[in-house]
Symmetry: C2
Subunit: 140 residues, 2 copies
Amino acid sequence: MAPSTEPRRSDCPISFALEIFGDRWTLIVLRDLMLKSRQRYRELLEGDEGIATNVLAERLKRLEQRKLITKKRDPDDARQFIYLPTELAVTLVPMLVEMIVWGIRTGDKDAGSEFVARFETERDTLISELQAKVRKDAGL
Amino acid sequence: MAPSTEPRRSDCPISFALEIFGDRWTLIVLRDLMLKSRQRYRELLEGDEGIATNVLAERLKRLEQRKLITKKRDPDDARQFIYLPTELAVTLVPMLVEMIVWGIRTGDKDAGSEFVARFETERDTLISELQAKVRKDAGL
DNA sequence: ATATTTCACTTGCAATATGCAAGCAAGTTA
DNA sequence: TAACTTGCTTGCATATTGCAAGTGAAATAT
């Protein structure tokens, strides 16, 4: 990934978004932080996709620089850090939901059908509830 | 990019989506094909971001394999090919719109404010109109 | 107290992907 | 028929990723 100090490729908002999460791992990390309620490095490493330690470390650094997450020491164990999504990350939920629905419909017709059903009947409520849950987990 | 013949990393729909367009270029190409009405290799090369020729060739190949685009000869000039989005690509429009809105709000407060305004008042209509335009351009 | 384990990384290195410039074959234009 | 355009491919330098091993600080066990 390009460091976040580089100039923008263009002034297109899609291009801007891709500079932040146009790679194989950044959105996986945000998914785990927001939708799977993982908060620690160790937990993030245990995801199904098997992110490498150096890649995870670099993505966390960039997400912090981009103000999509915050990093705090765990008060109960000074070895550990707690990574939490920010309010900016919460604004990504609608896009993530669209991506999830597209992925289910396109790749995984069977799994996730109830998520899609709920999306089709009450998209806005579904998104609001997910965002509320993320905020609650993150103490926002 | 990993070739599209590789096994899935996991059964998560986000992960599945990222295997298809989790990189710096794939969605840029789809943006140009769908939202900027570009159809030829030469036109796609001329985008603001400056994609390399070999990268564009590889992405077009993968998009065709994934059935997101079709490739046809130009009947008026047999040197040229015409790349068109498929109906499957049209289903990506809602996600692209969310990404555009997020990019405008997050990176480019000034530019694109009327797109965001329309999104806020009539999201569904905006998306339907964009999809209709893509279908029309592509002859779907 | 000391040893061991856990945690969050960092480092080294091979494999892969990207960027850039040049080349090429088929088709079109002068 | 010579020059040009188009859609690529190729070669090569650089950047990114994946994997395994290592490090230092803090916690836990002995």
